[in-house]
């Protein structure tokens, strides 16, 4: 009987001790989920089609420049790079598409394969991140349009595969090939618009020269030579009169 009473007393004591420490009354839980979806927005203000009509000798010699024909504004939640790429739809991919021939077109020295490099770009501000760019003629399109512009300094990057990012030796408008070269995410809406790294105006120039060989045209490799006409020579050949078109694409991409 004593043992039973002792057992009961012990159990009561233990029960009391557990109950006394158990001060938690109740709880409820809420799960918070945050879904940060990546956003890259490139707005292009300006005409979808830009025409260069050469019908004056002075225009052939001096070229035609269209200032601020395109305005680019960027908004991105991730670090980003921006580049321009010119291309045609023919098999080579990097020459203008000939849509019409003016005249007979029978002169064997009249060449219809004009390099897309003949199109020159100028951006209003220097690329803010090019520390690791490697050895091209230029890292961006910020060189001024002058008579003394270096060969290829403003020639647009061309590629038959426009969605493959340009190599470290090519030009970018902002950011560059190396993963350490990028513009930090943000938006022109809050970064100060004009004058910020999220706002660019683009000038265009085409200078056929006389005869029309596009003397400024070259790729961005140091030591490159003229390539305005992709076959023939600068001394004896010229661009066949006609209507030509090419596609210029601006690509905003996540830095990688």
């Amino acid at each position: 009987m004593k043992k039973i009473l002792l057992g009961i007393a012990l159990c009561a004591t233990m029960g009391f001790a557990l109950d006394a420490k158990a001060q938690l009354i109740d709880e409820s839980n809420v799960t918070i989920t945050m879904d940060l979806q990546p956003i890259l927005q490139l707005n292009m203000n300006g005409p979808q089609s830009i025409d260069f009509v050469f019908d004056q000798i002075s225009e052939y010699i001096a070229g035609i420049t269209q200032y601020a024909a395109t305005t680019l504004t960027v908004s991105s939640t991730v670090n980003w790079d921006l580049y321009a790429v010119g291309y045609g739809s023919n098999s080579l991919g990097t020459i203008w598409d000939q849509q019409a021939i003016y005249g007979t077109g029978s002169d064997p020295n009249a060449i219809d394969s004009i390099s897309c490099n003949a199109l020159e770009l100028h951006q209003n501000r220097v690329n803010p991140s090019t520390a690791n760019a490697a050895g091209g003629i230029a890292v961006d399109y910020s060189a001024a349009f002058t008579m003394a512009t270096a060969l290829g300094a403003n020639s647009v990057y061309t590629s038959a595969t426009p969605y493959v990012r340009p190599a470290a030796t090519e030009k970018y408008i902002a950011g560059h090939f190396n993963t350490a070269d990028f513009v930090v995410g943000g938006t022109y809406l809050t970064a100060g618009s004009v004058g910020s790294d999220f706002y660019y105006t683009i000038d265009y120039r085409i200078k056929p020269g006389l005869p029309a060989t596009f003397p400024n045209s070259a790729d961005n490799i140091i030591g490159s030579t003229w390539n305005g006409l992709t076959n023939g020579s600068q001394a004896t050949n010229f661009a066949q009169p006609g209507l030509y078109t090419m596609n210029l694409k601006y690509v905003l991409t996540e830095n990688n």
Partner: protein
């Protein structure tokens, strides 16, 4: 109940065991999942605020007769990121979006919470607050050393026995959530949990 770990309710160890634990409850009157989806720049910049996404109601019963009891409680919210392998200061990453990725993982102090009720009884009632960047960090909603019974609706931290059924504005709490990520963080889907703990003091 006695294994106190980060993100779990913490027993203050000072209770008098005067509340009826079996019939006292925290009742979450709203869904247990709150999702904030950022898919526009205005949301990234301005943030998303969800007002009244959680409503917590309390029913705290006394164990002893009126006049002889000292049932006194506290209400707290604990943040948790689920523990290892997530670093203690960060949200748990469910998945990342995009390629190799730039940006950093969000920290727990990104979440802002605001608690109030009809009688302004919570500590810091109506003010936006953040947790410390530490899984297990706490924000107290009611943490009053003095015994304060219900019924006056005067802004004091009521912590006596009672129920939202009889004193709704003193035993219910509305919680707002806000996130303003900006452009700093790596895109992805992140998660944390908040535990509302009712403990006897």
């Amino acid at each position: 109940m006695h294994n106190i770990v980060n993100g779990q309710c913490v027993d203050p160890g000072t209770g008098t065991n005067s509340c009826d634990h079996s019939d006292s409850h925290v009742i979450l009157a709203t869904p247990g999942n709150v999702e904030l989806v950022f898919d526009s720049f205005s949301e990234y910049n301005g943030g998303i605020t969800l007002n009244g996404s959680s409503i917590v109601r309390l029913k705290v019963l006394r164990k002893y007769p009126i006049g002889t009891d000292s049932c006194k409680w506290m209400l707290s919210m604990y943040v948790s990121n689920g523990g290892n392998p997530t670093p203690v200061s960060q949200w748990e990453t469910l998945t990342n979006y995009g390629i190799s990725g730039s940006g950093i993982n969000p920290t727990l102090d990104l979440l802002q919470v605001k608690v109030d009720n009809g009688c302004n009884t919570p500590l810091n009632s109506g003010a936006w607050q953040t947790f410390d960047s530490l899984s297990g960090a706490v924000i107290h909603i009611i943490n009053n050393a003095a015994f304060t019974p219900a019924g006056t609706c005067g802004g004091a931290q009521v912590n006596g026995a009672g129920s939202y059924l009889t004193n709704y504005n003193e035993y219910s709490f509305v919680i707002d959530y806000r996130l303003r990520p900006g452009m700093l963080y790596r895109p992805g889907r992140y998660e944390l949990s908040i535990k509302y703990c009712l403990t006897e003091m």
